[in-house]
Symmetry: C2
Subunit: 244 residues, 2 copies
Amino acid sequence: MLAVPLRPFCAFLAGLGLLCLAFVASWCQRWRGGFAWDGSARMFNWHPVLMVAGMVVLYGAAALVYRLPPAWRGPKLPWKLLHGALALTAFGLTVVGLVAVFGFHNASKTPNMYSLHSWLGLATVLLFSCQWLAGFSAFLLPYAPPWLRALYKPVHVFFGSTILMLSVASCVSGINEKLFFSLKNGTAPAPYNRLPPEAVFANTLGLLIVLFGVLVLCALAKPDWKRPEDGSTDTRQPLLGTER
Amino acid sequence: MLAVPLRPFCAFLAGLGLLCLAFVASWCQRWRGGFAWDGSARMFNWHPVLMVAGMVVLYGAAALVYRLPPAWRGPKLPWKLLHGALALTAFGLTVVGLVAVFGFHNASKTPNMYSLHSWLGLATVLLFSCQWLAGFSAFLLPYAPPWLRALYKPVHVFFGSTILMLSVASCVSGINEKLFFSLKNGTAPAPYNRLPPEAVFANTLGLLIVLFGVLVLCALAKPDWKRPEDGSTDTRQPLLGTER
């Protein structure tokens, strides 16, 4: 693929991830009333912020750990631990983000889990939990035999990209849905279909999230940015194993 | 990756693509009033059907042409032509699908291009048109030098998967949006949030589209399903060239 230098690309991605976070937090703070943990719409606002932070930005960072040049040399175990820890933190934020939306729905007597956004979003989080558990069991615990790890690794890599893609689709449908809810006909200064500033801002947030997801997938797909397989025993070293 | 036989996988994918088409057509026929070309909501109904047919099912078929074992042997040019023709047909259906929604909006004085779904969908179609034109210019016209083709090929492959992913995200947000529009509070037999049969059916359609997209990306990603690079001049044979 085109010769793009890795470090500036990663720096740009980090900036774009922070921009997504700034956009989603600003949207909720400026136009949706800010944040609280009281069952109100201000509790709901934690949902978009934490899902973007967990399932997109931090998830993307976890996926890219092995692409960083310092991870190419020396023992793999610290990078495995960083990858697993970032993914676990992303999962933790995601769970709190789900508690926020269920808490708001239950307090306001709104049904849960009816929209396609909610079905896809929950399926994505369930897949993520399976992915984390399977990755932890196969690559960090000492029980999986090498042939099973070799068989599972490309599956883990494929689902890594797939889950990010599904997260992005969930975010897009969620932002779209929230704007239809919030900017109904008669809303001041204008309904969604007249594109008030909030609509332009949140639509832009959606496109920034899509761009972030696509660029992370691009970085993962570039063959020359992959960690060279050095064949040392360390590449198969589990967390609790006795190798080396 | 896991050893799945290619032919049954492709047959399953073909069946799943047809199932997606049957679902979207049945949804519009049974619950949304059927089809017409008269500026009414029945004209709008062509939009979901043609976008799923063009940007998902036929697009997926075009992407998978080189994965079919008969394409692995002999001249590459017929498969290039099939790939380009399927993609062009997909693009044609997509354009008619866009005309259907713009025609309905204009006839009913509804603003165009305000939702995140519409922004992402149009961006996806624009990317697809660039992809087709660049692919045609580089791989079928005889003017591109081999180094340019070699440079562009992985970019074309990456954007091929990316556009399918964006199409799926556009479909999910579009189905979600349409259900909120159609199944408002007070709608018989029940609003969206009470999950009437239409909501379950269309949500299932959304998940089937996601599954189809993920499985196409899976087939594209499997290294042992890729056409072997035989290095013959034929792999670089353009449509109007004089090679061979």
